[in-house]
């Protein structure tokens, strides 16, 4: 029994990290159609902010979360204004531009903060472990799970129940017609990009106590995030949730019975097969074309 519980918890922990990293990407990609290859760098910058605030100003991680969200969101806003908005409807150019931004960000961080690996101290109140139904899990991992679900819920509510969310859904379906009804799509895009960046920054800050913080850390997360979004279905938030849960639990289970190398390979193979037969992903919004 405790084995089953601890296996489920492990999978949930993997899923929560995937969800955190993919959520921002899913929002940006889903609404604006921008393939943001600099997404991993937003994650990395979030982690560096956490490290900086902790080592220079002595802030605890929990206290700095809101600040980090705002800082990275502001950065996302600036990038949208300076670069991205000139490139909508030019998918190839946005891929190149965001990739270039990512490389530049990595090097800027390397030059200013140094190339050393860094770490962020876990909040003392969460550094213990908790017993759940006979299984032990790290309190911090459960906290990350709760935050990931909370963020998802908040995003979903904005999307579903606010007038801003309604406008977003309208733009997603057809930008030209939404604009002709008086929706300011440029502003909506800008806010979406900033929000997605902020969430990525938050993800970076939250995973920083469990991982190492380095200028290159973002590259692995951007791959994971795209896997989740592609599998879940591009314009579906629920799809993102479901596919992080499926990917997390599956890779946790495979890694337990074989090892992480094989788990990673098998999961990738499964994704290739699934999108071969369901190119729109697991959850595709039903839209009348």
């Amino acid at each position: 029994m405790d084995f089953v519980v601890s296996q489920i918890l492990t999978g949930l922990s993997l899923s929560s990290i995937l969800l955190l990293v993919a959520l921002g990407l899913a929002i940006i990609y889903g609404v604006t159609g921008v393939i943001n290859l600099a997404h991993g760098e937003f994650v990395m910058l979030g982690a560096y902010c956490a490290w900086l605030l902790q080592s220079q100003l002595g802030w605890s991680l929990l206290a700095s979360l809101a600040v980090i969200f705002l800082l990275i969101a502001a950065l996302g806003w600036l990038i949208e204004v300076a670069v991205i908005r000139h490139l909508y409807d030019r998918p190839l150019d946005t891929i190149l531009a965001t990739w270039g931004l990512g490389v530049m960000t990595q090097q800027i961080v390397r030059l200013t903060a140094g190339g050393e690996l860094r770490y962020v101290q876990m909040p003392p109140s969460l550094s213990g472990s908790v017993d759940i139904l006979g299984a032990t899990d790290s309190a911090y991992r459960l906290f990350v799970l709760a935050v990931a679900l909370g963020l998802f819920l908040a995003t979903w509510c904005i999307y579903r129940y606010t007038s801003f969310g309604l406008k977003l859904r309208a733009i997603t379906q057809n930008r030209a017609i939404a604009s002709s009804f008086g929706i300011n799509s440029a502003r909506a895009y800008r806010l979406t990009f900033a929000y997605g960046a902020g969430i990525a920054g938050l993800a970076g800050a939250l995973i920083s106590p469990l991982k190492s913080v380095s200028p290159e850390m973002g590259t692995t997360y951007v791959v994971d995030a795209f896997m989740v979004v592609v599998l879940g279905g591009v314009q579906s938030l629920v799809g993102t949730l479901a596919s992080s849960a499926v990917l997390g639990e599956t890779s946790g289970l495979l890694a337990y019975y074989s090892n992480d190398t094989i788990a990673k390979a098998l999961v990738l193979v499964a994704i290739v097969i699934i999108i071969r037969f369901r190119p729109q992903g697991l959850f595709a919004p039903r839209v009348r074309a």
Binding site: M122, L210, Y256
Partner: protein, 398 residues
């Protein structure tokens, strides 16, 4: 230099002496950019510091050592290209450099073809026998012969082997399994994670359910930081299930934080806290040269002492005889009082006799040295392969 107007490469190499105009050129080949720059930068610093020390004390028989520093950018192909440049165009008499096995393998053909000499400071997996490389880091038998029995006796016989998925961990584990078999201990799992892997929750789950006595970790790079931090977050206890490593030095501990490393064990020929007059001098010099917060570790110590071995070898030669092969012959059997204690170059396989120590990490990021091997240990790069032996004539089947 004498043939004005001709590209240098056209002049006959043999007509030029390596020691010219009161200086001898050596190559320094450590990555200053790219993924392994963090650690290689410290090796570059230790190398340059040793060269400066020797030059400040009058050089080698009046000859100044001139370092030619190149940045191979953590890329094996660039390593090979820069090595060729240092050997052919700069005419360096030796090159000191590289950290990863991949980069060493990339430069090896250059030194073997040009009959030059490469000095490699890193501990590595062994199973290499080149007449053109001086290896000053440890090989598996030197780090494991004392370490494994000590851990079995202290903690028990159920071992979990976890490593990064490439050649180094597999070779170390080959030797470790051999030792464990001789001790009647049991390997309950041998597992490899991809390089750069940072999610260890499944692995930690297995630690929990398998309850090994010792976790033998050959996980390297940023993965090692993630493994230690997640081990600690999971609430596992180093007192009953310690991780034993051959690569976790002061440098890695600084990256993961002393709290995450505390209680785990490392075997190495050198620790920063080692108490010897030579080490005190080394640490003080390093910190006053490069900054008071810098740490020294067992690879930077090798990078430092190998320059002094080079100096001793060159000092035995007449200026006109100085050349890579003459230096190789002169360094055979050479001894030097390094920060870790007395070291010696084994004439047969050009690896070094070293004195391994077992350290336990403390929360302040330094190690406490628990034991030291009674005598220096002979290097045997083929320790896991008893029917092969590296000799001065090359690899022999026995």
């Amino acid at each position: 230099m004498s043939l004005v107007g001709f590209p240098h490469i056209w002049s006959k190499n043999s007509s030029l002496a390596f020691a010219q105009d009161g200086e001898i050129k050596v190559g320094v080949l450590f990555s200053l950019t790219g993924t392994t720059a963090i650690i290689e930068e410290s090796l570059n610093k230790a190398t340059l510091m040793a060269i400066e020390e020797i030059n400040a004390n009058g050089g080698i028989n009046g000859l100044k050592i001139t370092p030619v520093v190149e940045d191979p950018a953590s890329d094996p192909a660039t390593f090979a290209e820069k090595a060729r440049k240092l050997v052919l165009s700069d005419r360096c008499v030796s090159v000191f450099g590289s950290y990863t096995s991949a980069s060493r393998k990339a430069v090896l053909p250059v030194f073997e073809k040009q009959e030059n000499l490469f000095w490699y400071p890193t501990l590595y997996e062994g199973r290499e026998c080149s007449k053109n490389v001086i290896y000053t880091g440890a090989v598996p038998n030197q780090q494991q012969d004392d370490f494994i029995p000590w851990l079995v006796e202290k903690f028990g016989k159920r071992w979990y082997l976890i490593g990064s998925n490439y050649i180094y961990p597999k070779e170390e584990n080959n030797y470790c399994k051999k030792l464990l078999e001789g001790l009647g201990a049991e390997v309950i799992a041998e597992e490899y994670v991809p390089l750069g892997h940072s999610e260890f929750s499944s692995v930690i789950n297995k630690f929990r359910s398998e309850k090994p006595n010792v976790i033998f970790s050959t996980v390297v790079g940023d993965s090692v930081v993630a493994l230690h931090r997640q081990y600690r977050a999971a609430g596992l206890d180093p007192a009953t299930m310690p991780m034993a490593s051959l690569t976790t030095s002061e440098n890695e501990v600084a990256a993961m934080g002393g709290d995450a490393a505390a209680g785990h064990f490392t075997s190495a020929p050198y620790f920063m806290v080692f108490d010897s007059p030579e080490n005190q001098r080394f640490v003080e010099a390093y910190r006053s040269r490069w900054g008071g917060d810098k740490v020294t570790h067992f690879v930077s110590e090798s990078a430092y002492f190998q320059i002094h071995l080079f100096k001793q070898a060159v000092a035995k030669l007449a200026a006109s005889d100085i050349g890579p092969l003459a230096i190789r012959e002169a360094v055979k059997g050479e001894e030097y009082k390094a920060p870790q204690g007395l070291v010696k170059v084994e004439p047969e396989n050009l690896h070094c006799w070293l004195r391994p120590k077992i350290g336990q990490c403390k929360p302040d990021g330094q190690f406490e040295i628990l034991t030291q091997s009674a005598d220096w240990l002979e290097p045997n790069p083929y320790s896991a392969y008893p029917n092969q032996k590296c000799t001065a004539e090359g690899l022999k089947e026995v």
